[in-house]
């Protein structure tokens, strides 16, 4: 669920600084301690690449958590000093949901990259400076959320605690999962956890339970002192590798069965997890207006569970039968469309469902497991009545993200008859926590929309560009009009489009007039389209809300992406380039013709770094976005795109191929890029440029 809330309204001073070359927005590297407790106000330190002294606000995702920067007090006449460490004051409401939140800093130099924060229910205990050996183990009281850093190679952190005989405690580590969205953390931790008894002997351990993070639930046989040891499994370390270990004796619910409930329906949910005691089932009613993955806290006596993911479906919903249906003959009969909740409850178990379909019908099979925190790595097959495989899917990819869940977008029924759906774990594992929800629907044309970055920086009076990318499915080939929701007052947008056919990218160009105060606002991008349904039928109206992706600095210098919750628009103070001016914003090309756009940049005083002009968004010559009409390319020989030193004049020559098809007024951007690190650049945009390709004469 995307938050479209206005982010903050912190007071700040315009006169806090004067931009100097070369400026970058901050890139969040870590937060220490990485957790904050519900009902408390606490301080954490955020560390970054690039300056944090210009921070004016903090945004935290979800409800119930606010934060503000705590700048060091300045003596009279003392100027602000650049810093890469800044204290944040976090206030967590008593009813705030525990779990992981995203946060981002708003600074005069733009919006930061994303960091992550854990909201916990137990007291946060920060790691003591010397706790590297068993002898130096830091004594802690439980329950607790122990926060520390695997700060250097060979670092081991020891904690000493007391447990009673028969006491069951859960140790839930979050570390590697807190690093996915750190832009410039090119190596991630791989934590491992050990429990030792008083003599130092290992009594339990866990390496990878929740992805690369450990979890162990252990019943202590004897009362006494015990040790918790946490380190990187490879004995590697990094000043930004934070961890949080939540230790408590409460029930730890990981899943429910069924994993999906129909809208407005009440279901008896079986609780799955650890240390559940007498808590076996619970009744829950799905909201009638909800659809999709819902984060839910279920009541447990006087308490609530931590948030769980339950899928709310609008499909006719059924739960797999308790009768055996593990072979072709006993397959459970279903009628399409359908939503099926099931579990691969034992090793080597297969679930079969039988359905009848007519030749020419097309269906989509979408199996959710990992997306619902199930341990199932699913594989789905469609078989004919004789058991012959017709189609199979193991994993599927959404933009750059690879999911272990299975999805068959379109399967067309080859002949009238009965067919089988087979579901199993790829590795033939099974267990109560191997739940799944399979949605079988008629295959409809649709598209998915992604944003290439998570933030657009706009200097006052200037322009910023954002690229959206579409993936078309199930026969949809049309054009997509882009829209923006949640724009702040004063900021305008020229929403572009994605041309029909092969093109997959379009752009949105934002403008912040002089006088718009620096700040940061989350926005949402939508795409709309029509798909013709044949004569005498209304076209199908398609809508997709874009998923923002953050750029990540890949080891070796590659540019890759990871999904984040929000895209943010930031208006900065004047930075390195004041403007990017172009000689024309209407370019009309005949097939075979070349035309040139003259570009003039205005540098800030003292800024003499290289600037690169472009109309494609690319890294290491790999285009990530190309909004030019098909057949229109940049003629490098006739262009001047590298502006050295104090150069301010450049040009871009666009050439239409002889075969270029006509296109009317496709919105493009002339970009001026300044490298921040090997991967990231600050992209300034010109006002929109509309490129038209005339029909061939």
């Amino acid at each position: 669920m995307k938050s479209l809330r206005l982010l903050f309204a912190a007071a700040f001073s315009f006169a806090t600084s004067v931009a100097s070359a070369q400026i970058s927005y901050p890139m969040v590297m870590s937060l220490n301690p990485v957790a904050a407790r519900v009902g408390e106000t606490s301080e954490c330190t955020v560390k970054s690449r690039y300056d944090l002294s210009q921070t004016i606000g903090v945004w935290v995702s979800g409800e119930g958590v606010t934060a503000e920067p705590v700048h060091p007090e300045l003596k009279e006449g003392e100027a602000k000093k650049e810093t890469t460490a800044l204290k944040l004051k976090l206030t967590v409401a008593p009813d705030a949901a525990p779990g992981v939140r995203e946060f981002r800093l708003s600074t005069l130099n733009g919006a930061s990259t994303v960091g992550q924060l854990v909201i916990v229910r137990d007291p946060v205990i920060a790691e003591a400076p010397k706790n590297d050996t068993l002898d130096q183990a830091q004594a802690i009281e439980l329950p607790a959320a122990v926060c520390g850093t695997i700060e250097r190679n060979e670092d081991i952190d020891f904690f000493k605690f007391h447990a009673e005989a028969g006491q069951t405690l859960s140790f839930h580590v979050r570390s590697i999962r807190l690093q996915d969205k750190i832009h410039d953390l090119q190596a991630h931790s791989d934590p491992i956890l050990f429990l030792r008894n008083a003599s130092g002997s290992t009594i339990a351990s866990s390496d990878n339970f929740f992805q690369g993070d450990p979890f162990v639930c252990f019943t202590f046989p004897q009362a006494g002192d015990y040790f918790l040891e946490i380190r990187d499994v490879r004995y590697q370390g990094n000043a930004f590798w934070e961890y949080c270990v939540e230790i408590h004796d409460r029930p730890f619910v990981t899943n429910v069965f069924p994993a999906a409930v129909a809208q407005g329906q009440t279901a008896e949910l079986k609780l799955i997890g650890f240390n559940l005691g007498s808590h076996e089932t619970i009744e829950w009613t799905a909201p009638a207006d909800a659809h999709g993955e819902l984060s839910v806290r279920l009541p447990l006596g006087d308490d609530l569970t931590d948030p769980l993911t339950i899928y709310v479906t609008d499909l006719p919903s059924l739960v797999e039968t308790a009768e055996p249906h593990g072979d072709h003959a006993t397959a459970q009969v279903v009628t399409l469309p359908v939503g099926i909740s099931g579990t691969i409850s034992t090793e080597t178990e297969l679930d079969y469902y039988r359905f009848t379909a007519k030749k020419g019908e097309s269906y989509t099979f979408d199996l959710r497991a990992g997306r619902l925190d199930s341990r199932l790595d699913s594989i789905i097959r469609i078989l004919d009545a004789n058991g012959r495989q017709l189609i199979e899917n193991d994993d599927f990819q959404l933009f750059t993200r690879l999911y272990s869940d299975s999805r068959i977008d379109t399967w067309t029924v080859p002949a009238d008859g009965e067919y089988l759906i087979e579901i199993r774990d790829l590795h033939l594992r099974g267990g109560d926590d191997f739940v799944y929800f399979l949605a079988v629907t008629s295959a409809e044309p649709y598209f998915e929309l992604y944003l290439d970055t998570d933030k657009t920086q706009i200097n006052p009076g200037g322009w910023g560009v954002l690229f959206a990318k579409a993936v078309r499915k199930n026969g949809f080939t049309g054009g997509i009009q882009l829209h923006v929701d949640g724009l702040p007052e004063g900021v305008t947008v020229s929403p572009g489009r994605i041309l029909p056919g092969k093109p997959t990218e379009g752009c949105l160009i934002f403008h912040a007039p002089e006088g718009v105060a620096p700040g940061m606002w989350n926005i949402s991008v939508r795409g709309t389209a029509e798909h013709p349904m044949g004569e005498a039928q209304q076209p199908l109206q398609l809508v997709s809300v874009a998923t923002p992706y953050e750029e990540l600095y890949s080891p070796g210098g590659g540019r890759t992406h990871w999904p984040v919750l929000t895209h943010t628009i930031a208006v900065t103070q004047p930075v390195d380039l004041r403007s990017v001016k172009i000689s024309t914003n209407e370019l009309v090309l005949k097939p075979g013709e070349t035309q040139t756009i003259d570009v003039t940049i205005e540098r800030a005083e003292g800024f003499d770094k290289n600037v690169t002009l472009d109309m494609l968004f690319q890294h290491l010559e790999r285009p990530f976005a190309d909004t030019l009409p098909p057949g229109v390319t940049i003629d490098k020989q006739k262009s001047k795109t590298l502006l050295n030193g104090k150069e301010v004049q450049g040009k871009i020559a666009l050439k239409a191929a002889d075969t270029a098809e006509p296109v009317e007024r496709q919105q493009c951007s002339v970009m001026a890029n300044i490298s921040l690190n090997f991967v990231m650049k600050w992209t300034y945009s010109s006002e929109p440029v509309f490129v038209t390709v005339l029909p061939k004469e």
């Binding site: 991630h188 008894n197 002997s201 990878n208 690369g212 499994v233 490879r234 004995y235 750059t400 080891p555």
Partner: protein, 823 residues
Amino acid sequence: MPRSLRFLLPSFAALTVLLCGSSLRAESPAWSVEPADVLLHGNYAQVQLVISRARPSEGGATDGTRLAAYRSENDQIARVDERGRVYAVGNGTTQLVADVAGQTLTIPVSVDGVAAEAQPDFMRDVAPILSKAGCNMGACHASQYGKGGFILSVFGFDPKGDHAAIVRDRQQRRVNVLDPEQSLFLQKPTMRVPHGGARRLTLDSPDYRLLADWIRSGAPGPVADPAKVVALKVSPAQLVSQPGETQQLRVVAEYKDGRRADVTAWARFDSMDEGVLEVDETGFVKVLDRGQAPVMVRFEGQADIGTFVVPYRDNVTLAGWENRNFVDEHASAKFRQLGIEPSPLADDAAFLRRAFLDATGSLPTIEETRLFLSDSDPNKREHLIDRLLGLTGDPNLDIYNDRYASFWTLKWADLIRNNSKDVGDQGMWALHNWLRGAFLDNRPFGKMVSELVTAKGSIYSTGPANYFRINKNPTELAEATAQLFLGVRLQCAQCHHHPFEKYGQEDYYSFAAFFSRIGTKNSQDFGVFGRETIVMVRSAGDVRHPRTGQVMQPTPLEGEPVDSELDRRIPLAEWLTAHDNRMFARSIVNRYVSYLLGRGLVEPVDDMRGTNPPTNVELMEALTQHFIDSGHDLKQLMRAIMVSRLYQLDSQPLPENASDRKFYSHYFVKRIAAEPLLDAVDYATGDPTKFQNLPVGTRAIDLPDAEYPDYFLNVFAKPRRASVCECERMPDENLSQALHTLNGDVLAKKIASANGRVATLLKEKKPHEEIVNDLYLATLTRLPSEAEMQATREFLEQSPSEKECYEDLLWALLNSKQFLFVR
């Protein structure tokens, strides 16, 4: 169809005694002959007679085969030579007569199938002659380029190719069907034309006649589905003998179609211990010395052994011996059989050091040693073993479990070849931690192996999945799995039939077929940079026979094809670790016997072929059964061995057992392996070694990876994990090691460390005797004798300083054999 001219054994043939016209003396058993009746079928049939007389008091027998005088009552039907070998001549029946030591034996003979024009069969008749003559050995015509342009397949694994080489290649110059005697194929081995391989046939031999007849009959090729040999039986299978005695062996082959035939004439014989016995090409054995040794017999891809036991002395007392468990029962029985007197028990100090090093790869601390040596509990050794193995159930006593797990993880990580070069850091650590967790939990070994061979999933999260990255294809997996967990070296069978084993290419590729559907995919569970590989099972994939192209069905060794649609490795794991799969249990037992007793019951420990028998079959079977009954519990297996008197024997040999290298009559001294030795040095000097990328305090036995830039470990032969063979860890001491401990910087710096043991003792200003006691206890796990103590006093007086004295003393102790070896 050409028929075999071999002899068919009577179904009742065994060690039947047929006595005719002789008078038996009550005090001396009579001579007997095997077989009692001779049946010869076909022109070239031969049967080896074996005449013997039992020696009931010794369990042995006297061979009279070459003492006897033989004659045939009708040479037109059968003839017999002076070695007791009978040849078919013509169809009919007759009798053979053998006179031996005044006793006359008569043997009925029946001959049939002798044809006027013999039609030898290529596979059944010709190929065995080529094998017996050594033509298809790797050193002769089966070398890569053959010899003189004549190329045969190794051990005849490609009969069609061999036939073509003989009959068709080089414009058919090797055979002359019109005048067989002029065939190059016959002229060369008889040296009528020069032959680099020397004379392999004589003109008057039956084999020469057979080959000539085969050419004369048109040199026919292999038939489509020849009856294969499925088993060999050597007699006598076991014999108690004496130096200087001889014994004729007899070999019978059993064919797939149920036929049995005497193949002594075409079998190959090898002594497995030429110090004990020698055997010639006819299967005639001469016993040279005392001990126990088998003769390996091979014929057409099958092998068997005959074992000779030559007692060292007639009577042994086994002074002070008391059986503590079944291990001792079988060990003492072997001592009595072989006439070996075992050494007495080791003293407490030697036992303590041995048990610590063997179970945990580490030395006991000074405090632990003092406590144990002063303990008067008669059961303290057993209690110590239980503590070392973590079997007391008391967390306050089971404090060595981590060290136990580390040490045995090291051992198995070596064998499984865990290394970051193949699987990356996280994969290497995942496999290491999985092994360590399994040893910490004392997971049943069968379950561990099952988890390993069926592993799938993330190589970061599922440690054993890395097995499928270390071994990258079905053949590598088949070879590694067979050698690691069955003690079967299958490699030879990839290209040809195993020379010493029953396994051929079909066995090899059928076994490899279990691993034919392993694939990989990517995952982002470890984030976008994780580059995590997922090992998975694909829905299709087969292994084909490289020569025939046939799709091989997954088949256990010596088993029937089995398969699973879900994962072929499931039935493999079920078969491999089944309680009735004694191959598996036996191979693991043998490894642990070697780890604890210094030598496997079978050596090399991972070469458990039928032609390489255990030195104590009964002990092997009893330990195997115990391991199976315990549910493949390694700690119980170790306990059974360690609590035995056999394990606790002194390493000092007696004059009566000094020559024993196989039967554990004294504890076999072994050099401490590189990692435990470095840990022992670290403990003795009080100066821990810092390993690359690991925190201070990490022991060498904790090292997870294959290679570290540590000179000490490399000199002392820490394996690089390039081979699944135990032999990669070289157990032998060498000059480099001696020079390193004598003169190397590493030891010198450790001894002189400012925070080391000597420096600490000096800072504490302890009296001389206490310092010396501590140094002895820290190194040799014992107190110095009075003479040693006196020597140190004198040494102190002569030394320029206390520091120099104690550093020199520690240096001397570290360089002593008592320190460097487990004894």
